[in-house]
């Protein structure tokens, strides 16, 4: 045994392979190929198939059937059939099923970990210590939500059959993030696994059968983009949840536009990793390892942009390089590896292309001394790579690489750090390193991202919402906010479809003026000032029996542009305390009531009866008060509290929102939408009812006298859908509420794909604004905020 003596000289680690024989045996048992899991049973693997490879060595692992539209249709059919019985179960009964899934995942934890490693190429350390435990945790947590749904979400019901499309980077974990909340809500599921990594989803289907989940509640189809498109486009789907690339997210947004499907998208990122000069630098260096070399950088929230304070940049990079030398990359089944294989050759090519672009653009590349040995070997491996001297405008800084590549740049001041961090289309996550809590929290609040980790990175928990700002998508997974994605208000299913809007009257002089009263000019309201329409055109507003009432400005895209700019300038409103905003809203209610008779008269002119006009004004005053009440109360929550970890779910405003108001209840509809939006700190660009804009336009006098800061509410009159189209296409509007016809819904949903703004639309359906269940409530507040989850571990 001379071996020992030699090892004592080198003190190398030696091989430490995880045994994979049970997984190999399972694969061998399925040599004939895997089918889909539909209605509680596997289909035979016939028809077109694809081959699944182990990216670590290219070996074939399995043959898997591709679902065609017929298979998808069958799966949706089974999910639909199962829906009624599944929903008829009590929360407790559904909780038992989900609890069983959690337990069974734990019982098969090592099997699942080894299978995931073989299929995906990520290290056994990660699948064993991170992926699979988080999967079990997600099911446990959501067993609880099943139990509590009726208590915590009164007035809501499950959305229905859910189509879910998951990515290849965390195959089973993403499955759990999708399936657990859907089942807890009372939905049934058709899930499409990723074509590179279908195997753990198949194993999960076996687990569902083992655990006795009722047939049809969970259905699995395999395949690539075409299968996904068939699922997304299926009429039987009430809700689509997708995690994957921003490009595919856009396609799905367009594809589902106007379909009435609920949609949540968890997309790409280029997440900043900010290191201040008083950070614990060694801790931050280790943070980078967890940020960008975790799962080979194939992580949507990977900290891929280091933003380092200039004075410590050299030291930081030196320490980082030393750390990179120590990373071990190789056989993913080896228990002592930091990095495994990239998922597939096509992904390696994609990484190489971006890295080459970075080199060509003049950024300075560095890889560890052992990197060449990686290039020479077999399998899909790419060494950890650091780019310094990266300019913010370069490919490396702007584009998601989805590989183990860190782009590093420097900053001078805290403000500049956040500016650089926000200089991205994306806004998924941010990691902030500073031993100074003032500095850290200031950055945490101002950075635009759905998740912030202070002195930490890539922390996840089922109770904390995960999801992005900007083009990183919308909707949250995890926690209470994640559950809402799978629920709909009960009244909604019975809502009637509104007729399509009639064409706007010609913007030319119209007959019917009586010439007796003083002529009235209805102006737009932009940045706190009355404004004439840019177009120079006005259109006639007519009242009861076609009586000509006034002319309203015909707004165009430039009016929207000006209004959006004014709204952006009014950032002070978002910076006010909830109490401050509440005071303004109370005052607004007071001033509205003072003018109640005038507003009622406007509504009567427009066609309302005297009593209903009075009721609408009263309801509007009450609604303003309602959101004044909420302004300092709908503020967020603490998640998964721990003795040494504070996780805050903060309700942050979208900043600038667009709102298209309905024709029903011209005043109350406007107030019901604008008040919650501004109560939560948003600044809004609103188009009032095109037919009856007068009451809403009169509101600017109330806004003026109520100390609503200029630019907080901007009112543009004109054609609803034309203006909504401009707002949907405007990249500096973060969220859009649309209440018009079904054509308009389809239009704004489709056009919002550009910057993937969050759209809340009425699907062209009626809403009774006077009914508190429909016209006010948490739904409005929830839609008026985006949730930022801030994780702060601490301790001395």
């Amino acid at each position: 045994m001379n071996e020992i003596r030699n090892i004592l000289k080198t003190m190398e680690y030696g091989p430490a392979p995880e045994d994979d024989k049970d997984v190999r045996a399972w694969l061998a048992n399925h040599e004939q190929g895997f089918g889909h899991f539909i209605g509680g049973a596997f289909t035979p693997a016939k028809g077109k198939t694809f081959t699944v490879h182990n990216p670590a060595n290219g070996e074939k692992l399995a043959e898997v059937a591709i679902a065609d539209p017929g298979d998808v249709d069958k799966a949706v059919g089974e999910a639909t059939k199962a829906l009624k019985k599944w929903q008829a179960l009590s929360g407790n009964q559904r909780a038992r099923h989900i609890y069983a899934l959690a337990r069974h995942v734990q019982k098969h934890s090592r099997f699942l970990a080894v299978l995931e490693t073989l299929d995906n190429g990520k290290t056994i350390r990660e699948t064993r210590d991170i992926d699979i435990p988080l999967v079990a945790r997600h099911f446990y947590h959501h067993a609880g939500w099943a139990e509590l749904r009726d208590t915590m979400f009164p007035g809501y019901e499950p959305a229905g059959v859910c189509g879910q499309i998951i990515p290849w980077n965390f195959p089973l974990l993403m499955l759990s993030w999708k399936v657990a909340p859907a089942l807890a809500a009372g939905c049934t599921v058709v899930l499409k696994s990723a074509e590179h990594t279908p195997l753990t989803a198949i194993a999960f289907a076996e687990i569902c059968a083992e655990a006795g989940l009722p047939a049809g509640v969970f259905n699995l189809v395999n395949g690539a983009g075409e299968t996904g498109a068939a699922l997304a486009g299926h009429d039987g789907i009430a809700k689509l949840a997708f995690t994957g690339s921003t490009e595919v997210g856009r396609v799905l947004r367009r594809q589902t536009a106007g379909s009435g499907k609920k949609l949540s998208l968890e997309l790409g990122g280029k997440s900043p990793f900010i290191v201040f000069d008083n950070a614990d630098i060694d801790a931050a260096v280790e943070g980078v390892v967890d940020a960008i070399w975790f799962n080979q950088g194939e992580v949507c929230c990977a900290g891929s942009r280091a933003i380092v304070q200039e004075g410590i940049a050299d030291l930081f990079h030196e320490k980082l390089r030393a750390r990179m030398e120590k990373l071990r990359l190789g056989n993913p089944l080896d228990k002592a590896m930091d990095m495994g294989a990239v998922v597939a050759p096509v992904q390696i090519e994609q990484i190489i292309a971006k890295v080459e672009a970075g080199v060509a653009e003049g950024a300075r590349m560095w890889q560890p001394s052992w990197a060449q040995t990686v290039a020479a070997g077999e399998g899909c491996f790419f060494p950890p790579t650091l780019f310094t001297d990266v300019s913010p405008s370069s490919t490396l800084a702007q584009e998601e690489i989805f590989g183990p590549v860190l782009a590093s740049m420097t900053f001078r001041t805290p403000g500049e750090a956040v500016q650089l961090a926000n200089n991205s289309r994306y806004g998924l996550a941010a990691s902030i390193w500073s031993q100074n809590l003032d500095e850290a929290f200031d950055a945490a609040r101002t950075v635009k991202s759905g998740v912030v980790w202070i002195n930490s990175t890539n922390l996840f928990d089922a109770s904390a919402g995960f999801g992005g700002y900007k083009e990183s998508g919308f909707g949250r997974e995890g926690g209470r906010e994640g559950m809402i994605e799978y629920l709909v208000p009960v009244w909604q299913k019975k809502a009637k479809l509104l007729p399509q809007s009639e064409p706007m009257p010609a913007p030319t002089p119209a007959p019917g003026g009586d010439g007796t009263g003083l002529d009235r000019t209805v102006k737009m309201y932009i940045g706190g000032k009355q404004a004439r329409p840019d177009s120079g055109y006005s259109y006639p507003v007519t009242g009861k029996n076609g009586k000509h009432l006034a002319e309203a400005g015909l707004g165009n895209r430039k009016d929207i542009r000006n209004a959006v700019e004014a709204a952006h300038k009014a950032s002070g409103w978002s910076g006010m305390t909830g109490h401050g905003r509440a005071q303004v809203l109370y005052f607004l209610a007071e001033n509205l009531e003072l003018r109640a008779n005038g507003f009622a008269a406007r509504l009567v002119e427009a066609g309302a009866s005297a009593s209903s006009a009075k009721r609408e004004v009263e309801a509007s005053v009450a609604r303003a008060m309602r959101y004044a009440a909420w302004a300092d109360k709908y503020d967020g929550a603490v998640r998964a509290p721990d003795k040494r970890l504070l996780t805050l779910a903060l309700n942050e405003p979208w900043d600038v929102m667009g709102i298209s108001c309905p024709d029903e209840a011209p005043l109350l509809g406007f107030v019901s939408l604008v008040m919650p939006a501004i109560a939560m700190g948003n600044r809004v660009v609103v188009t009032p009812s095109p037919r009856q804009p007068l009451a809403a336009c009169d509101l600017y006098q109330v806004l003026d006298t109520s100390d609503v800061p200029p630019g907080t509410v901007n009112i543009i009159t004109g054609d609803r859908n034309m203006l909504a189209d401009t707002m949907a296409k405007h990249d500096d509007i973060a969220a859009l509420w649309y209440f018009g016809d079904s054509e308009g819904t389809e239009l704004v949903e489709r056009e919002s794909a550009g910057n993937l703004k969050a759209v809340w639309a009425n699907d062209g359906k009626e809403r009774d604004w006077s009914d508190p269940a429909q016209g006010q409530g948490e739904e409005f507040l929830f839609r008026a905020v985006r949730i930022k989850t801030i994780w702060t571990p601490f301790g001395v």
Binding site: M1, N2, E3, I4, R5, I7, L8, M11, E12, Y13, G14, P15, A16, R125, D129, N278, A279, D280, D282, A283, A284, E286, G287, D290, E318, K319, R321, A322, R323, E325, K326, R328, K335, A336, D338, I352, V355, E356, V359, A360, R364, M365, W366, Q367, P368, S369, A371, Q372, V374, A375, F382, P383, Q435, N455, S456, R644, P793, F794, G795, V796
Partner: protein, 341 residues
């Protein structure tokens, strides 16, 4: 990988951490530096991040089979086999020294192919009154004798007595002196006083190597640990050591990581090399492997050798012997099959 990338990688290859650390292989004694507060005063160690790193160290790395056996042998070589009890007698110390000379059963050594390797522990560690006994018992073995001194464990005796104790132990033949620092200087932020104290002790040690015991369990915060470690190195310590073994909390991985990183920073700033000794509470072979991994990962291969790394331990050896027997035979072993100290 494409040629473009390979070329770019070659162009920008520069001095890396591992090359820097290889300076250590030809190291000479730490001479210390002037008192330079700028080297540590702004340091703030993040506890949660430190814990996260140490929690995953042993999940990121493992050694199996022959490698495990070799690493356990190395652990034996790094043990300061220790007895520091009020009831120590010459007989007890002689037994300890005999075990230090022959820490592993001959049949196991043979099975490992190490019968002529000359395996011993790193040192024995005793109280000053026991040094002479130990020196005699270890004569010709090459195993150094370490003595605690300076009013161990509390260090709250007059300075002149503490220095006299060093002189006494050195005079008795101790090769290494484990001093204790005045924790009050750390807790009151009197870094200059700490520096002066350790400096004086280092001078009293002369040619004997000095290990500075920080008593990290009493310093409480990792920032204190880092600063005390840095000051002790600036004052010329050859090793920094976590604990006396008498505190409520002794060697932990987070404390060790903090000290190890201070050693790395000190090397980077001064080019001087310092060793590390965790002591107290390290009882299992698994623990020992974790610490060796820590040293290899955070400092490098030079720190998985006894000249720069020691365990202060009394019961650790017994567990390692049992694990090595298991490694050799495939059977789980019992303590009574191995000779006691």
């Amino acid at each position: 990988m494409s040629r473009n990338i390979a070329e770019a990688a070659a162009t920008h290859r520069e001095v890396t951490g591992s090359q820097l650390v290889s300076l250590a292989s030809a190291h000479k004694r730490n001479t210390g530096t002037d008192f330079l507060p700028a080297m540590f005063e702004n340091m703030s160690v993040n506890l949660s991040a430190t814990e996260r790193r140490t929690a995953t160290l042993a999940t990121r790395r493992t050694v199996k089979k022959d490698w495990q056996a070799a690493w356990l042998v190395r652990a034996i070589e790094c043990i300061d086999l220790t007895t520091l009890a009020g009831d120590d007698t010459p007989g007890k110390v002689e037994r300890l020294c005999a075990k230090a000379r022959n820490p592993l059963r001959p049949d196991l050594l043979k099975a490992l192919g190490l019968e002529d390797y000359g395996l011993t522990t790193g040192a024995v560690c005793v109280y000053p009154m026991m040094v002479a006994t130990a020196v005699k018992a270890l004569e010709g073995s090459g195993v150094p004798v370490a003595s605690v001194a300076t009013g161990f464990p509390a260090g709250l005796t007059p300075m002149k007595d503490r220095l006299a104790e060093i002189a006494y132990a050195v005079g008795e033949g101790a090769d290494e002196i484990d001093i204790v620092i005045s924790r009050r200087h750390v807790l009151t932020g009197n870094w200059a006083a700490l520096y002066e104290e350790v400096r004086a002790m280092r001078e009293a040690c002369g040619d004997a190597h000095m290990k500075a015991i920080l008593s990290t369990g009493e310093l409480k915060t990792l920032s204190n640990v880092y600063k005390a470690s840095m000051v002790s190195m600036m004052a010329g310590s050859d090793f920094v050591k976590t604990s006396t073994g008498m505190e409520a909390v002794n060697a932990t991985l987070p404390v060790s990581l903090t000290m190890v990183r201070s050693i790395r920073d000190y090397l980077r700033f001064t080019g001087n090399v310092c060793g590390f000794k965790p002591a107290g509470g390290i009882r299992t072979a698994k623990d020992a492997i974790s610490w060796l991994i820590l040293m290899k990962e955070e400092l490098g291969d030079d720190w998985v050798k006894p000249d720069l790394f020691r365990f202060g331990a009394s019961s650790l050896l017994g567990d390692i012997e049992r694990q090595i027997e298991h490694n050799v035979t495939g059977r789980y072993s019992s303590a009574d099959r191995h000779g006691m100290a």
